[in-house]
């Protein structure tokens, strides 16, 4: 039969347990805004009441309301959103380069053909000839600078990708360190909740940058998969590096702890790196290729017509633009032919030397190029450029839609995880009151036990 003194132990256990409850509640409240924090709960257990025990309560431990499935979904969705956001951001800059608000390449094309048209009406006029050179030069410069901007953007995205790879490596190393610490804590019987919070947040951050999937083993350590390979296994972390392959495309290399390296480029589809790769090596390359073809076809068409005509100096066979040798790089290299720079008399307008200076047949042909299909395409020069820009517009539109979709799916996944792991201040307020009342009641038990003992002592 339990003694009166044992009642003091029951009161002590109660106060200790409720104090632990208040502490855990305080911990939850203070971390309500801490990223990655998973709410805790105190695990209480009643002591058996019987012949040899006075009953009471004991604190078995601190629980962590972690839903691995929900967390996995969050990491996965973060990877997808990271890719969509990075691609959309990169393509927004590309669109601004390709179609600035002031004057686009299409506007410059129109201005050049307008100058040819003016020349056809006044083939001997020096001002009209100067205008042709001015507008053709402006067009060449804008096409060239646009191509330069695209190339610069690809360089910048490469630099950005290397920076992101550095961020990934920092996190991989910390995940491995935390894995080791968690395993040690687990071996000592500690859940290592704080360590797990930090590690799981880092896994999510890797997911943001490269996409990630993790599997936890019995020791509490996670194996992290990303880009189709293992990046962290237990306490060992690989490191990733971004370089350029011979075709100037991004290459992702993973260096394993043992020293072996693998090419994980094909798996680089998720996270910021995946988005950067898609924008840099697919979308912008498509714009570059189309712009090169456009520049090549336009320069060739104008040169063909121009070379057939005669300048005021009765010389024929001159190009207006520097003749592009190959399609690749034609946009960047687009420029006026050195022979005509500053030489308006060399602009060809007449079809025969005898037609100088009033003959305008070639000027008419040059002006007419504006409304004729350019190259193999069935579209006019301005339409060709419009198609280049529209193609990029479609890609950006798709990237923005994908980003918005992923925002929503990330929100849903985070809501699911937060529902299990998040801190509710309302709940914590109730818990605070609950533990406070229980603590007060335990102190009451102590007082009663004390009074009973006092009564008992005074009766002697």
């Amino acid at each position: 039969m339990p003694s009166l003194f044992s009642l003091l132990n029951v009161a002590r256990d109660g106060m200790q347990a409720q104090s632990a409850g208040v502490s855990v509640t305080g911990q939850n409240i203070s971390n309500v805004n801490t990223p990655g924090y998973v709410r805790r709960g105190v695990v209480l257990s009643a002591r058996a009441f019987g012949q040899d025990s006075t009953g009471g309560v004991s604190v078995l431990g601190i629980s962590r309301s972690f839903n691995r499935f929900a967390h996995g979904r969050v990491v996965e969705e973060h990877g997808r959103r990271g890719a969509a956001a990075a691609r959309a951001e990169a393509l927004t800059a590309t669109e601004a380069s390709l179609t600035p608000n002031s004057r686009t390449v299409a506007d410059r094309v129109n201005a050049m053909f307008q100058a040819f048209d003016t020349l056809s009406g006044a083939p001997g006029d020096a001002a009209a000839r100067l205008e042709v050179l001015q507008q053709a030069g402006n067009l060449a410069q804008q096409v060239s600078s646009t191509a330069g901007d695209l190339a610069t953007q690809r360089d910048e995205l490469f630099t950005q990708a290397r920076g992101v790879a550095g961020e990934v490596n920092t996190r991989l190393a910390r995940i491995a360190t935390l894995n080791r610490a968690i395993a040690e804590a687990t071996a000592l019987g500690d859940a290592g909740a704080d360590l797990r919070d930090q590690r799981d947040l880092l896994v999510q951050e890797v997911g943001d940058r490269l996409g990630a999937r993790s599997i936890e083993d019995a020791t509490g350590q996670v194996t992290l998969f990303s880009a189709g390979t293992v990046l962290v296994e237990g306490g060992n972390a690989s490191s990733v590096s971004v370089s350029l392959d011979p075709a100037n495309n991004l290459r992702l290399t993973v260096a394993q702890p043992g020293g072996a390296t693998t090419d994980a480029t094909a798996g680089m589809t998720q996270g910021t790196l995946g988005g950067l790769r898609e924008a840099r090596d697919v979308d912008i390359v498509a714009a570059q290729t189309s712009l090169d073809q456009f520049a090549f076809d336009l320069a060739t068409a104008v040169n063909t017509a121009h070379a057939a005509g005669f300048g005021l100096d009765a010389v024929s066979g001159r190009n207006l633009f520097a003749a592009p040798a190959v399609v690749a790089g034609a946009a960047r290299a687009m420029a006026l032919d050195p022979a005509v720079i500053g030489q308006p008399d060399r602009v060809a307008a007449a079809a025969a030397a005898g037609d100088i200076p009033g003959g305008n047949n070639v000027a008419l042909q040059l002006a007419g190029l504006a409304s004729r299909p350019l190259g193999a395409a069935a579209t006019t020069p301005a339409e060709r450029f419009g198609a280049v820009a529209a193609d990029l517009g479609v890609r950006l539109q798709s990237a923005l839609a994908e980003e918005q979709l992923r925002d929503d799916t990330v929100y849903q996944a985070e809501t699911l995880r937060e529902s299990a792991a998040g801190v509710s201040l309302d709940e914590e307020m109730v818990n605070l009151s609950k533990f406070q009342r229980a603590f007060e009641a335990s102190t009451r038990v102590l007082r009663v036990a004390d009074e009973l003992l006092d009564t008992l002592m005074k009766s002697f």
Binding site: V32, N33, L91, E95, A96, L98, T99, N101, T104, A106, D107, V109, N110, A111, F113, Q114, D117, T118, S120, G121, A122, P123, G124, G354, I356, P357, G358, G359, N360, L364, A367, G368, A370, S371, T380, P381, A382, E383, F385, G386, A387, A390, L392, G393, V394, L396, Q397, L400, D407, Y411, T415, E418, S419, A420, G422, V423, S424, L425, D426, M429
Partner: protein, 291 residues
């Protein structure tokens, strides 16, 4: 489902973010009047805009070029009318000089008048327009007729585009108007007439009546041809201007925002944004922490 504070705040933030994005977009559309500012706003509409911009630029420039050429043709037409008057005057003098009662001295004096008329005709034939000499064909830089009345120009037509791929002659033919290419060499005929007068060659003088009449008809024909060409250019300008209006309207339909829709959308999104702010405020006020 458990609802935590963060979920409530995230929901409010998500909704508010969407509301502010919609409000900002509606503000942009309302303030610029443009539905499409960049290819990604509507790639198809942007492509159409590029095509229509090119069309508008081309047509706008074409109207300027055709107007200027039309103006030159009108000048040429007027010059040819004046030249016709000179030939008419020469014919009158020929009729007078063919009168048997006119003495040799009077005819000699009249030859001076004819030489003056010939000089005037050469002056008219060497008139400059906005793009060089009007009657020199493509040889616009030098006077097409020498002081002796020799034609140094050519009859090459200068064509201009009046529609995509369609051209029409846009210069007057000095050769057809003044030289044997049109039937009579007017300068030579006047020279011959003056010579007949100064040599008191009655047969030559009588013959000059016919050549002056033929020359006058030649100039009238050239004047009519030039007038028709000018009219063709002017009507092309009108047609092009009308087409420009259609293209401009189509462009506006493709990329511009309807004002009513834009301002309705602005009001709706502003109301949505305000409601979103109010709800967020309410949400943040409701908490058991302060109780």
């Amino acid at each position: 489902m458990r609802i935590t504070d963060k979920m409530a705040i995230d929901a409010a933030r998500q909704g508010q973010g969407r509301a502010v994005r919609q409000f900002t977009e509606a503000s942009r559309v309302a303030s610029t009047g443009l539905r499409v500012n960049a290819p990604s706003d509507d790639p198809v509409a942007w492509s159409m805009k590029v095509r229509q911009d090119a069309q508008l630029e081309r047509m706008d420039n074409r109207t300027r070029t055709l107007s200027r050429a039309g103006s030159d043709l009108n000048t040429a037409e007027s010059i040819l009318a004046s030249a016709g008057d000179l030939l008419e005057e020469a014919r009158s003098l020929a009729v007078q000089a063919a009168n048997g009662g006119i003495d040799a001295q009077t005819r000699l004096n009249m030859s001076g008048q004819i030489n003056a008329l010939r000089d005037s005709l050469i002056g008219l034939a060497n008139t400059r327009g906005s793009n060089g000499y009007l009657f020199g064909g493509t040889a616009t830089a030098a006077a097409p007729f020498s002081a002796a009345g020799v034609f140094t120009g050519n009859d090459t037509a200068v064509a201009l585009e009046v529609a995509d791929g369609v051209t029409t002659r846009a210069n007057a033919s000095g050769a057809m108007a003044f030289t044997v290419a049109g039937g009579r060499d007017l300068m030579a005929d006047l020279q011959a007439f003056a010579t007949a007068l100064s040599t008191n060659n009655l047969a030559g003088i009588q013959g000059a009546i016919g050549t002056m009449e033929a020359g006058h008809r030649q100039l009238v024909t050239a004047q009519v041809t030039t007038g028709i060409a000018a009219e063709r250019l002017h009507s092309s300008v009108e047609v092009t201007s009308g087409a420009m209006l259609s293209v401009a309207t189509a462009r506006a339909n493709a990329i511009e925002a309807d004002a009513v829709d834009a301002f309705t959308s602005l009001s709706l999104t502003r109301a949505g944004y305000e409601r979103s702010i109010a709800i967020t405020r309410e949400l943040l006020q409701v908490s058991s922490v302060t109780r």
